[in-house]
């Protein structure tokens, strides 16, 4: 009798999993189509013109790049030099020292000859107290502003920068990210190219810089990472940025802009209430909030996405750090979805409420949990002797083949559009990653997601965690 009930439950579960999987595959196929169209369009549209000519235009808007720094003493000076070397006229680099415990501040003062200005913060200050605002005595560093403030986390530091910036647009980046010299020109273009809608935010691709050769803050040579974990992440990033976000961008439903490279219309960001300091997923949350701000007021707007490889960053090479990072992403995702739960299947928000939010709910948040519990239910069904082997093998092979196929498709687009990894050996390694990722890397990510949910459910304080940077490789002759 009991076995019968379990069998019926098993059958129902199989149907649910089947529907879930079929919808997922359809969503991914749609994504592949949309991203392909968007990539074609973007490639043709941007094959004309010379961006650098615009640099000196009097109509070019001003941008502040905000880079929060916490215990970055080892690399801070080189990173700032790299940011200052960007090709643009009207920009300011604002480094926010978020109460570092190491010698970050001292190193900046010494390297850039900083002095404390008498500038004060606005009366309605919404961040931790500021100890000082510094400028350089040297003309060469006139674009640099350093804010020394009490520790309040990344979002608090970004909020401080946004409030003290006086420019039209603000870019929130990780200080250890490497931006290509033309990055700001691409960003300005993205902000300025619409005439009917206001572009409230611009996001871009994050590329993996592990093993790449960097010299003087410039990317000298692009190499495939030597570490397998980094390689898997490279494949994952390619899939996510070149296919996923391109597709969401095509239907103007992008709900996340990477915290490592995100630019915002400062006026809207301030009006929407700046970054939320209560979440670890602040990069996603601010996009939700800004979108809702515009949507609720019926203002025409859009969020732009730049697929050009403009921002390069190091990804974790140790499983422990990777798990912490993914655990945090899951918590951030959950917090943001919960905070904006009114959008769930809410037609008032159009595609955001009816497609984008549900996708994030079912396939970014719920899917790892279902996978995890599915795994244990298969073991339970096996021991109970009610495992439908045909269904199990069929769906497993289908999902595996689909995942591999989708990864190959992402590699194909990468080769077609940017062709960063030119060596045949590199491409073959990426293909091996695609074949083995579902077996080795994906379970790790799933486990991190479950752990993040567990921590959130039982309110286990975890915060941001730390990432130990190895630093970029130098050229052999350097």
């Amino acid at each position: 009798m009991n076995i019968e009930i379990v069998k019926i439950i098993g059958d129902y579960l199989s149907i649910i999993f089947l529907i879930f999987t079929v919808v997922l595959l359809l969503v991914f196929i749609s994504m592949a189509y949309l991203s392909a169209r968007n990539s074609f369009h973007y490639k043709h549209k941007n094959s004309f013109g010379d961006l650098s000519k615009i640099m000196a235009s009097p109509l070019a808007p001003s941008i502040t790049i905000i880079a929060p720094a916490y215990n970055e003493g080892l690399t801070i000076v080189e990173n700032i030099r790299s940011l200052l070397s960007l090709r643009y006229v009207e920009f300011e680099v604002m480094v926010v020292n978020d109460g570092s415990k190491d010698d970050t501040m001292e190193k900046m003062i010494a390297a850039f000859d900083l002095y404390k200005t008498d500038r004060q913060v606005p009366s309605d200050w919404r961040a931790k107290p500021v100890a000082g605002i510094y400028k350089s005595r040297k003309k060469a560093y006139a674009k640099l502003t350093v804010i020394d403030k009490a520790n309040g986390g990344k979002s608090d530091a970004l909020n401080a920068g946004m409030q003290l910036s006086q420019n039209k647009y603000v870019g929130c980046i990780d200080v250890d990210c490497l931006l290509l010299p033309d990055a700001l020109l691409h960003v300005v273009k993205a902000f300025y190219q619409r005439s009917k809608q206001r572009v409230i935010a611009v996001g871009g691709v994050i590329r993996v810089a592990n093993s790449c050769q960097i010299s003087g803050g410039k990317l000298e040579q692009i190499n495939l990472p030597t570490n397998w974990l980094a390689r898997y992440q490279l494949l994952e990033y390619t899939r996510s940025f070149l296919l996923g976000r391109m597709a969401w961008g095509r239907i103007d439903s992008l709900l996340i802009i990477s915290g490592a490279f995100g630019f915002f219309d400062r006026e809207i960001a301030l009006a929407a209430g700046l970054y939320d300091t209560d979440t670890v997923g602040e990069d996603m949350e601010i996009v939700f909030r800004m979108r809702r701000y515009m949507h609720d007021r019926g203002l025409p707007y859009t969020v732009e996405y730049i697929p050009d490889p403009l921002c390069w960053t190091e990804v974790p090479e140790s499983p422990k750090i990777l798990l912490n990072q993914r655990d945090r992403w899951t918590r951030g995702n959950l917090e943001t979805l919960y905070k904006h739960k009114e959008m769930f299947f809410n037609p008032k928000y159009g595609r955001l409420g009816m497609i984008s939010y549900p996708y994030w709910f079912f396939y970014e948040w719920l899917a790892p949990l279902l996978e995890f519990f599915g795994f244990f239910s298969i073991i339970a069904f096996y021991f109970a002797g009610i495992l439908n082997w045909d269904f199990f093998i069929g769906i497993s092979i289908t999902i595996y083949a689909f995942m591999v196929m989708f990864s190959f498709y992402a590699i194909l687009w990468d080769v077609y559009s940017y062709n960063e990894y030119k060596k045949t050996k590199d491409l073959l390694i990426l293909m091996v990653c695609a074949l083995t990722e579902p077996l080795f890397f994906h379970p790790l990510v799933t486990f991190a997601a479950v752990r993040g949910n567990y921590k959130k459910l039982f309110k286990i304080q975890s915060g941001w965690g730390t990432i130990t940077r190895k630093g970029f490789s130098k050229p052999a002759n350097a």
Binding site: L59, V121, P122, W125, F408, V415, L427, M431
Partner: protein
């Protein structure tokens, strides 16, 4: 299926990779072979060579021409020329463009314009632009209102690049929005253009296309065209906030003092962002006569940003007023100095003001605060208390103002001085005109109308279309006529008449259609213009005869400033009276329409009467009640 697709993608990856290197491999040797030849051609100096070198040069030219017949060589040649384009200038650039044309490569670029693929068309346009093929101007103009945005944008840039009058044509005829990026690029083209004589961009301030108005404002700012005060003032009432903001920026930059009373009048009808800009304008241009208004703003605004801005403006004006008022009292200064290092909120600041007044006079804070903040209906002598307190506020307020951009340096101080002088003169002139205007119904004899004649330096029968027609073949002319049917306006009538004389056979009907279409559009314009337009008698040559109706040659250029002139005179009239007169004026126009009065039949109708009746002149006798 998925495994099959995986295999397909696997092959695709290597196919794409190899195809890229294959194409590169095929053109690279040809480019390597041709580059020195092209360089030789470009830097050939006729004066410093002997006969054998001249012969070699001629052979080289012939060889290049022959090679251009082969598709791969042609592609390589085009690529070399496009690459070199950005590296050469002066004579070398001219030679480069000449070589491009000599090799017939522009024909291949032109054929791209017929493609159904937008990226190919855009590429064709950009190639012709790069190589300065000015005879492609007419063909490219056809894409000016193309529905494919990339093609349209490339056509806009091409027009502005290839012809000095391209900017006029573009601003006159574009129907689509102009993104800020596109504006940036267009301005860059104009900036780099040699001997570019910018037209008076105020002529486009009354365009129906919001982006054209915005762009015109930005161009005016860039070229320091500060001769459109009245038009700028009228834009404060524009329905688009961005236009308002840009106009306010121009007002601030050019020091348009006459805008200030209008700003006071409009202030409470504006939205928050625009109000901020308005207060900025007062901070830069305001004087003591606006203190009362600014205090009212400070007291009534709920937003702390706006109150802060108002106080900033008060401070700025306070600094100007201060020298006449003597030194502030020492104890109040001390009080402020003690507060200076603290971050004060708006409430704190207000409290400081109150306490300062209490310290100085020993009165209750609330009572005194009222006195300081609400200055309405107070005699001038009592107002002196405000400026006395204002400099003291500075120390405290500067803390709040830190985050605000310092724009005081951004305005044109010379323009401001000039305007101040002009303002004084104009006040006198206006009085004179107004008086004179009431003497008889003739337009004033003085050239007081603020607009210059935009077409004064243009040839007879000038129209933005004329150049296109000059360059176009018959089929293109037919196409242009079709475009004119949609876009042309009254100022093109004269050109059409002129063109009809020499037009190819069979075109008369189409020309007639265009003229009818223009006439169809006129009643609507008439209704708007009749309220707004004030004629200029001293420019009779500008008038275009449209079957008896007198129109200035550029109606688009006149509307806004005329409104302001009309309004200047209106100020003397009670509001209700003006409204009724405006209505009467409009009714008159409508009644003409409803009676189906043909334009030809309205002979003797004097537009001047219509305008002057708006400003309080006697109505024409034949006006229906």
């Amino acid at each position: 299926m998925f495994l099959g697709l995986t295999l397909f993608y696997f092959l695709g990856i290597f196919l794409v990779k190899n195809q890229k290197s294959f194409l590169q491999g095929k053109t690279r040797p040809k480019k390597r072979e041709l580059t020195p030849k092209v360089s030789e051609f470009l830097f050939y100096d006729d004066t410093q060579v002997d006969a054998s070198e001249k012969k070699a040069y001629l052979n080289l030219v012939i060889e290049l021409k022959e090679l251009a017949k082969d598709a791969y060589y042609r592609k390589a040649l085009a690529e070399i020329l496009f690459d070199l384009r950005s590296d050469v200038s002066g004579d070398a650039k001219k030679r480069l463009c000449a070589l491009y044309k000599y090799l017939g490569l522009q024909e291949y670029s032109k054929t791209k314009l017929n493609s159904w693929r937008w990226e190919v068309v855009a590429q064709g346009i950009i190639e012709l632009t790069w190589m300065e093929v000015s005879d492609a101007y007419g063909i490219i103009a056809e894409f000016l209102n193309d529905k494919r945005s990339v093609v349209r944008k490339q056509a806009e840039i091409a027009l502005v690049t290839l012809n000095a009058d391209g900017i006029r044509l573009f601003l006159d005829t574009t129907r689509y929005g102009i993104s800020e990026w596109q504006q940036l690029k267009l301005l860059e083209v104009l900036r780099l253009a040699k001997d570019f004589d910018p037209p008076r961009f105020k002529n486009w301030l009354n365009s129906k296309n919001r982006d054209v108005v915005l762009f015109a404002l930005r161009l005016m700012k860039h070229y320091h065209q500060n001769d459109a005060d009245a038009a700028l003032v009228s834009l404060i009432a524009h329905r688009n906030n961005e236009v308002k903001r840009e106009a306010l920026d121009c007002i601030k930059k050019f020091g348009v003092l006459k805008a200030l009373p209008e700003l006071v009048k409009q202030y409470w009808n504006l939205n928050g962002d625009v109000r901020l800009e308005v207060l900025d304008v007062f901070a830069v241009l305001g004087d003591e006569s606006y203190l009362e208004f600014l205090q009212k703003v400070r007291d009534r605004e709920h937003s702390s940003t706006l109150t802060s801005k108002a106080m900033h403006a008060l401070n700025a004006i306070g600094n100007v007023v201060m020298p006449d008022l003597g030194e502030p009292e020492p104890e109040t200064t001390e009080n402020v100095e003690t507060e200076e290092t603290e971050v004060l909120s708006f409430e704190d600041t207000m409290h400081t003001v109150s306490s300062l007044m209490v310290t100085s006079e020993g009165r209750e804070p609330e009572e005194k605060e009222k006195e300081v903040l609400v200055e309405e209906d107070k005699p001038q002598s009592e107002e002196t208390q405000v400026p006395l307190a204002l400099p003291n506020l500075l120390g405290a307020l500067d803390i709040q103002m830190q985050s605000m951009p310092d724009e005081e340096g951004s305005y044109d101080s010379e323009a401001l001085q000039e305007n101040k002088a002009k303002e004084k003169e104009e006040v006198q002139d206006d009085t004179h005109l107004e008086w004179k205007a009431f003497q008889d119904t003739e337009p004033p004899e003085e050239a007081w109308f603020p607009f210059e004649d935009p077409s004064a330096d243009l040839p007879e029968h000038y129209s933005v279309w004329s150049q296109l027609f000059d360059r176009a073949d018959e089929s293109s002319q037919w196409y242009l006529l079709e475009q004119m049917e949609e876009l042309a306006d009254a100022k093109d009538m004269e050109f059409l008449e002129h063109y009809a004389k020499d037009a190819p056979k069979g075109f008369a009907k189409q020309i007639g259609k265009v003229r009818l279409a223009i006439l169809d559009r006129i009643p609507v314009t008439c209704e708007e213009e009749s309220r707004e337009e004030i004629p200029q008698k001293n420019n009779p040559e500008e008038h275009v005869n449209l079957g008896g109706l007198q129109w200035t040659s550029s109606p688009t250029a006149i509307g806004i400033d005329s409104v302001i002139q009309a309004k200047t005179i209106e100020k003397e009239q009670p509001e209700s009276e003006i409204t009724s007169k405006e209505k009467a004026s409009l009714e008159y126009c409508f009644s003409l329409k409803s009676l189906d009065v043909e334009a030809e039949e309205v002979k003797g109708f004097n537009l001047f009467d219509l305008n002057f009746s708006l400003d309080g002149f006697p109505k024409p006798e034949n006006r229906p009640s």
